[in-house]
Structures are given as structure tokens and as C-alpha cells.
């Protein structure tokens, strides 16, 4: 079993100004194994995309111009902000502050749904002008990688909804804290994966 964090250690976690780092893992250890495996898979995605670009630089650089950068920026800001609000929700749950836990989780879910709507809007606009997964290699990579990430967001929103329901219904005890920390770490992973996807797909420039 993972050692139970002592209260002063939990306090140190909240403030990052005291306490000893080393033996506290937010959430469930099994979830962390999943997170690392998932991140490794996305690492392979980055490699596949990079090799694809090496094989056809002009096509990749020209196709990238069709992406809607402002929407990509908006999606990044949405996920970064939702991630930060998730930190607040975990922070509130550690203090057994039910009202704030529920409120912050609701905001995280709202922003998660905002990402979903924004991404569907972007996909729809692309399909309307005739861009699809079959257009060329760049868009095949684009739709597969962002689509896979999109599924992660959908799963995250579902998990967050369960976390919100539990916050309303259950005791905010140690078990709940492990649960919300696990969901929080998953949501942060969704966020950080998008950060690299966004930079790689939208922001690279031709020489």
C-alpha cells in the first residue's frame, strides 16, 4: 500500500513551501502506471508524425496552413484553465470543503465540454471545406492523433462527472481524496498531451 500522507505533508502539498518531497503520490499508483503508458503511446504518435513530415516536408507545411490556429489557442487556454481549476477542486477536497469542490469540478466539466464543442466545430468546418482523414498524410495524422486525444477528453469529462456526483453524495474522506487526485492527474495528462500536440500540429513553421 502507498503510505498515508500525514496531515502536515498534505499541508505542504497544498503550499509547496514546506515538508519533505519523496513519498507522496497524488491518486492511485495504478492510475500513474496507466498515465505513463498512455504518455508513452503519445510519444510514439509524435515519432510517427515527425517521420511522416521528414518524408514529405512541403505537404506537411502546406497542409498545416489550413488549420485554424486561433481555435487551437482557444482549446489550449481552455484545457490549461480547466487543469488549474482541477487543482483548486483537489485543494478544496483535501480541506473537505464540499461546496468549493463541487463548484470547481462543475467549472472543470464546463470547460471540458467547451473543448468538446470547440473541437467538433473545428472538425465540422474542416469537413465542410472538403478536408478529411483521407485528404493526405498530414490530415490522416491530424485526425487520428487529435481524435484519440478527443476521446481522452470525453472520457475525462465522464470521469469528472462521476467525481462531481460523488462529491455531492459521499464523504470527502481519504478514499474520495485518492479518487479526485487520480481523476485530476488524468485530466492534467490530457492537458499536457494537448500542449505538445498543439505545438507540433499547429505551430511548427516552414523554414
Amino acid at each position: 500500500m502507498w503510505p498515508e500522507p500525514r496531515e502536515h505533508r498534505a499541508g505542504a502539498l497544498l503550499d509547496h513551501d514546506s515538508g519533505q518531497p519523496g513519498d507522496y503520490l497524488p491518486g492511485d499508483p495504478g492510475l500513474w502506471v496507466f498515465i505513463l503508458a498512455d504518455m508513452a503511446m503519445f510519444g510514439v504518435f509524435f515519432l510517427i508524425f515527425t517521420l511522416g513530415r521528414v518524408g514529405n516536408v512541403p505537404l506537411f507545411d502546406a497542409s498545416r496552413q489550413s488549420l485554424h490556429r486561433p481555435l487551437g489557442v482557444l482549446n489550449t487556454l481552455i484545457l490549461l484553465t480547466s487543469s488549474w481549476l482541477m487543482v483548486q477542486a483537489v485543494h478544496a477536497a483535501r480541506h473537505t470543503d464540499r461546496a468549493r469542490t463541487v463548484r470547481f469540478l462543475a467549472l472543470v466539466i464546463l470547460l471540458g465540454c467547451g473543448f468538446v464543442v470547440s473541437k467538433i466545430t473545428e472538425y465540422s468546418a474542416m469537413i465542410r471545406v472538403g478536408i478529411s482523414i483521407f485528404t493526405n498524410d498530414f490530415f490522416m495524422h491530424y485526425f487520428i492523433f487529435t481524435g484519440f486525444h478527443f476521446m481522452h477528453v470525453l472520457f475525462g469529462v465522464a470521469a469528472l462527472s462521476v467525481t462531481l456526483a460523488k462529491a455531492r453524495r459521499d464523504m470527502l474522506d481519504r478514499r474520495y481524496r485518492v479518487w479526485i487526485e487520480s481523476v485530476g492527474c488524468y485530466w492534467h495528462m490530457v492537458d499536457l498531451l494537448w500542449v505538445m500536440l498543439f505545438a507540433m500540429l499547429y505551430l511548427q513553421s516552414a523554414a
Binding site: 505513463l36 488549474w84 470543503d97 485530476g184
Partner: protein, 89 residues
């Protein structure tokens, strides 16, 4: 019940937002695409490291978790940036 008083980790969030907008502006106004791309990928890697440190609280975990995540960040940056520069050498 205790009240979770002040908002937590505000400045990392502000830095992340500012870095996102900065990376976008760099791309939009770049005179040299290679320099812009290098900056953008490095900024993305720094942002990911900030998420790992300030949001996922990885410095408080056992060293192996942090090491795994740091290696992933370095590896992802190397793959994307290395692949990009490989086409211009």
C-alpha cells in the same frame, strides 16, 4: 469541514496562459520559421514541465515517477525538434 482559502498555483497558470499566447504570436510573426519552431517546441516542453510540477505535484512523489516524466518531456521535445531540424541539415 475546513475552508480551502485562497486559490492555489495562480502564477503557474498565468505563466502557462502567457506562454501559450507568446508561442502563438511567435508563430504568426516569425521572420525565421526555424527559430520560431524551435522556440515554440521549447516553450511547449517548459509548459508541460510546469503542469507536471505544479499541477500534478510530481516533485512530491518518489523520484522514479518524476524521472519517468522528465525523461518523457525530454524525449518528446527531442523527437519533435530533432525531426524538424533533421529536414534542414
Amino acid at each position: 469541514m475546513t475552508r480551502a482559502r485562497r486559490p492555489f498555483a495562480v502564477w503557474p497558470w498565468l505563466v502557462l496562459v502567457a506562454a501559450t499566447i507568446a508561442a502563438w504570436l511567435v508563430t504568426e510573426n516569425a521572420a525565421d520559421g526555424r527559430l520560431a519552431t524551435t522556440l515554440v517546441i521549447v516553450i511547449a516542453s517548459i509548459k508541460i514541465r510546469m503542469i507536471v510540477i505544479y499541477f500534478m505535484e510530481v516533485p512530491w512523489t518518489a523520484r522514479r515517477w518524476r524521472l519517468a516524466l522528465e525523461l518523457w518531456i525530454g524525449g518528446a521535445c527531442l523527437i519533435v525538434l530533432g525531426g524538424y531540424w533533421f529536414t534542414y541539415i
